[in-house]
């Protein structure tokens, strides 16, 4: 029954919007094909290991990661995030008050589609909306405090499977489809899409990096990147992908960034949260 409704909605959306005309929105079918592609291409990688990105692809890297993860450099961010979470705003409320279960163990539910605004709410957007609703300044989307808060939230959610829902709402399906489009669209002077690296070439080297598989790629975020010498958020990860192909990055909280995270996280449904992560 549910599937029939989704299909019906998809058809309506498909006819209403020229963008979607020859591409009926079918997240479940996409999900199956996506999962099949990665598990068939990397039969030796256990499904839950995809969330470990390049370490699931390269034994040498993995050994260094295990050495580093014995006492990982993101611990300071997790602690800072924990403090920030408990610290009262000027109005006496806290970040914890904005979230279900006081924000503990809920990272796997993000991004969420918000029926009120008709938009996708990523964890980072939710944090800033919480701050603004309480008369506090929003955080920089890239790193520092935003990375600390989300690192703490991810840390308390480790091991919980991604549970992204695409409700029966044409706006949600459109956001999902736009996210998919963003993921596969070539951009920048180098003419690369996200998929060029993370679907067509995971495990291969581009310049100096071992490319991570797209499957589960949002599960480890935020990450401490040695190349950055510090923490970075999902926004920072997307922005750096853009600039690496000589595309101008979008602003944090941009609709397209929300949508692509929605798409990728839906593709990762069932895979465990592994963030915060450590990456080369």
């Amino acid at each position: 029954m549910l599937r029939r409704i989704i299909t019906a909605v998809a058809i309506v959306v498909g006819t209403a919007q020229p963008l979607l005309a020859d591409n009926a929105v079918n997240p479940q079918a996409d999900f199956k094909a996506f999962r099949k592609y990665f598990t068939e291409r990397f039969p030796k990688v256990p499904l839950n290991d995809f969330v470990n990105g390049p370490y699931s692809m390269d034994a040498g890297l993995r050994k260094q990661w295990i050495a580093i993860d014995a006492f990982p450099p993101y611990e300071f961010a997790v602690d800072k995030g924990k403090q920030m979470f408990a610290k009262p705003f000027k109005n006496g409320k806290t970040l914890a008050d904005c979230f279900a279960n006081k924000g503990i163990g809920i990272r796997q539910d993000y991004p969420k589609f918000d029926a009120k605004s008709g938009q996708v709410i990523t964890l980072e957007v939710a944090v800033n909306e919480c701050l603004e609703a309480n008369g506090e300044k929003p955080l920089n989307y890239n790193k520092d405090d935003m990375a600390a808060v989300t690192a703490y939230m991810a840390f308390t959610s480790r091991g919980k499977p991604f549970d992204i829902k695409i409700p029966n709402d044409p706006r949600a399906l459109t956001a999902y489809k736009k996210g998919e489009e963003y993921f596969y669209t070539r951009r920048g002077q180098l003419n690369f899409s996200c998929a060029s690296c993370h679907v067509q070439n995971p495990g291969n080297h581009i310049r100096t990096e071992v490319l991570a598989p797209a499957l589960g790629i949002t599960a480890a975020l935020p990450i401490y990147r040695s190349a950055w010498g510090g923490m970075g958020t999902t926004t920072r990860r997307l922005r750096s992908c853009n600039s690496q192909v000589r595309g101008l990055p979008l602003a944090g909280g941009d609709e397209l960034y929300r949508d692509v995270e929605y798409y990728l996280s839906y593709m990762a449904n069932g895979l465990p949260i592994s963030g915060p992560g450590a990456r080369p």
Binding site: N23, A33, R186, R187, A195, L248, L256
Partner: protein, 104 residues
């Protein structure tokens, strides 16, 4: 003798002035080139597909103009325009082409 000298100087000056008009770009030339480049860049922005190289050239063009190097400034602005136009072509092409890359 003296007259001839004066004439020579006058000729020399006119050659320089002529060269200025014919071969060197002016501030106005730059304004035109910049306006074109910025219009194209604005369109690329509407596609959310600006290239960093376009932005770099625009910055460099403005810097060259500020330093009075209008030849360079015009060249850079034209290059920026070309890059912006290429990014627009890319964005338009990709509106359909992206679906070919999707895992099915």
């Amino acid at each position: 003798m003296r007259n001839r000298h004066l004439i020579l100087i006058a000729v020399a000056l006119s050659v320089i002035a002529f060269a200025g008009v014919a071969f060197a770009a002016s501030a106005d030339d730059f304004k035109v080139a910049l306006a074109k480049a910025e219009a194209a860049d604005k369109q690329a922005y509407a596609f959310k597909n600006q290239w960093t190289t376009t932005e770099d050239d625009l910055k460099k063009a403005k810097a060259a103009a500020a330093a009075g190097k209008f030849d360079d400034a015009v060249k850079l602005a034209q290059q920026a325009e070309a890059l912006a136009n290429a990014s627009i072509v890319q964005a338009k092409e990709q509106e359909k082409l992206w679906t070919e890359a999707v895992i099915r």
